[in-house]
């Protein structure tokens, strides 16, 4: 059985590799979107993966804009990604906290961890047929040693005229609420764009902030009028079974949503010359079974968020600012009965703000970022219980800190290779409720301060 599976996987990888090579043979720029449009990567991106106004337009029109007028082109638009990283935490995590596998190696001090690779991905990125396109990411994750279907966004898009102005409309099928969004304020594509997958992170997070990534599959309808007003409604269901199961391929569905999860998005954008400003709101309502069960009482989460983005895109100087605030109401109907929470209800608030500057030079793009993040909420001694590294001594979910990042980006080093290097420092002021001895086992918030270096190849 194992031999048969291996043979199948080898054959599949062989086909994907061959198609990738065929795609690269015709490469003009990188990755597959650039190859499809004939445009440079920086037409759609400022600092990868942040989108420019044209990048947002490309995504909303279904990734289907092409220099060719044929409805389908061979080879398919395949691209690849490789992330190699190193993380240093102020204090080592207890042995066993991080899996020591073929891709993850800790030095003897246990606080220097190499992730080689952190992630390796193959993308189908571009037109599928005529007005249908997609971004489908298959990823090998080094830290968890898994192969899974990562962020996926399949679209149909078209346009018409309403009140004398252009209206883009479309459908999206995706597996992560906000992955379909075009502003870099929402969780799926928000700052930091990459972070260590082995360093400790705060225990509390809202459902919409990555809690349903690859755990659900859904379909949404959207419209964007006159480059001004964007509206979207979507509905998700669990990827544990049924028609949406393929959208969670390779991921264990341990967050099981019950019934339909409605998602909404409304945004206003104004563009004036090199400036663009966006103000918006988004949110969802989800019923989630405690402990991954498929029956019995559920917990209910209502997430309501607001976001803002400003971009200035000059010839050599680019600046962007992103912010989002998410409020989550929590009803622990299921978890309380099981004794997992001390209270029947609660709430969380998260706030993120981030500014980024890029200087485009003939030898590459140099950039710097600074960001602040904060999570606050009510105390719950069972939900946030004491535990080494991940727990809370006080039962509080409150965390906050700063992130600083330096980037160097060189797009199209060769006709099919782009590179981004990032040096990031995450500084915690408060972690899971406290500044010092936050977990009840003597660990301080600053012990989780993380220096992170990333080499990010796209091809």
């Amino acid at each position: 059985m194992i031999y048969k599976n291996l043979r199948g996987i080898t054959a599949l990888l062989g086909i994907i590799g061959l198609l990738t090579l065929l795609a690269l043979e015709n490469a003009k720029a990188v990755p597959s979107f650039a190859r499809q449009t004939g445009m440079s990567c920086n037409v759609c991106h400022t600092a990868f993966p942040e989108l420019t106004p044209f990048g947002r337009h490309f995504k909303l029109t279904g990734y289907a804009i092409s220099k060719s007028d044929k409805p389908y082109e061979f080879p398919p638009p395949l691209a690849g990604m490789l992330q190699l990283s190193f993380a240093h935490t102020n204090k080592a995590q207890p042995r066993g906290s991080v899996d020591d596998n073929w891709a993850t190696h800790a030095t003897s001090s246990d606080n220097n961890i190499f992730n080689l690779p952190q992630q390796a991905s193959i993308f189908y990125g571009g037109k599928i047929y005529d007005h249908i396109g997609g971004l489908v990411q298959g990823t090998v994750d080094g830290a968890s040693n898994t192969l899974f279907l990562d962020n996926t966004d399949l679209r149909y898009a078209n346009n018409t005229t309403v009140a004398g102005k252009n209206l883009i409309y479309g459908l999206t099928i995706n597996n992560n609420p906000t992955v379909q969004d075009v502003w870099n304020t929402t969780p799926a594509w928000g700052f930091p764009y990459a972070a260590s997958s082995v360093a400790p992170t705060p225990a509390a997070g809202t459902v919409i902030d990555g809690g349903l990534g690859q755990q659900v599959g859904g379909i949404g309808a959207y419209a964007y009028w006159n480059n001004l007003i964007y509206g979207e409604v979507a509905v998700y269901r669990t990827a544990k079974n049924g028609i949406t199961e393929p959208l969670g391929a390779g991921t264990t569905t341990d967050t099981v949503v019950h019934g339909a999860v409605p998602y909404w998005r409304l945004a206003l954008q104004h563009q004036q010359g090199k400036h663009s400003l966006e103000l918006g709101t988004y949110g969802l309502y989800a019923k989630i079974s405690p402990e991954g069960s498929t029956s019995g009482p559920t917990d209910k989460f209502t997430d309501i968020a607001f976001d803002a983005q400003y971009q200035y895109i000059g010839k050599s100087n680019l600046f962007s600012f992103h912010s989002t605030w998410i409020h989550e109401d929590q009803d622990w109907d299921g978890s309380f009965d099981l004794g997992n929470t001390a209270k029947k209800s609660g709430h969380l608030n998260t706030f993120k703000i981030h500014g980024h500057y890029t200087y485009r030079s003939p030898i590459g793009d140099f950039g710097g970022s600074a960001g602040f993040f904060s999570t606050t909420g009510n105390k719950d001694i069972l939900l946030y219980a004491p535990d080494p590294v991940d727990g809370s001594r006080t039962g509080s979910p409150n965390s906050n800190g700063l992130i600083f990042e330096l980037d160097y980006q060189r797009l199209e080093i060769t006709k099919f290779l782009s590179l981004k290097c990032s040096l990031q420092y995450t500084l915690y002021n408060k972690f899971n409720g406290s500044h010092s001895n936050y977990d009840g086992f003597g660990r301080d918030a600053s012990d989780n301060n993380t220096l992170y270096f990333l080499l990010w190849f796209m091809f």
Binding site: G38, S66, K67, N166, G273, G314
Partner: protein, 117 residues
Amino acid sequence: MKKMIAFVVAGIVLVFGFVVWNINIEASEYNQGRDIYENKCQICHGVKGDGNGPAGVALSPKPVDFTSPKFWQQKNVDKLITDTVEKGHGMMPSFDLKPGDIKDIIDYLAHTFRPKS
């Protein structure tokens, strides 16, 4: 007399050579402009230069229509194109092109799309 004929022939050859050379330069500039247009501009501005390229049809506002007389009646239209290419405008990003390349594009646009009147 022979000297005179040789002088005239040499003159004709020189003038003819200069004209051919000039035409070649113009043709090569035209081709260069066309290549850049096809690679960088056509996806929005379209094969016909009317702003209806595959990426242009859904843009709001629409890309400039190079076949419109109004576009060419603007003051300093060469400078306008140069500034837009170099600095970007609205949805259109800036393009890192040499001044000679931008001039080639302007020549190509003027020769190909500018209405004859």
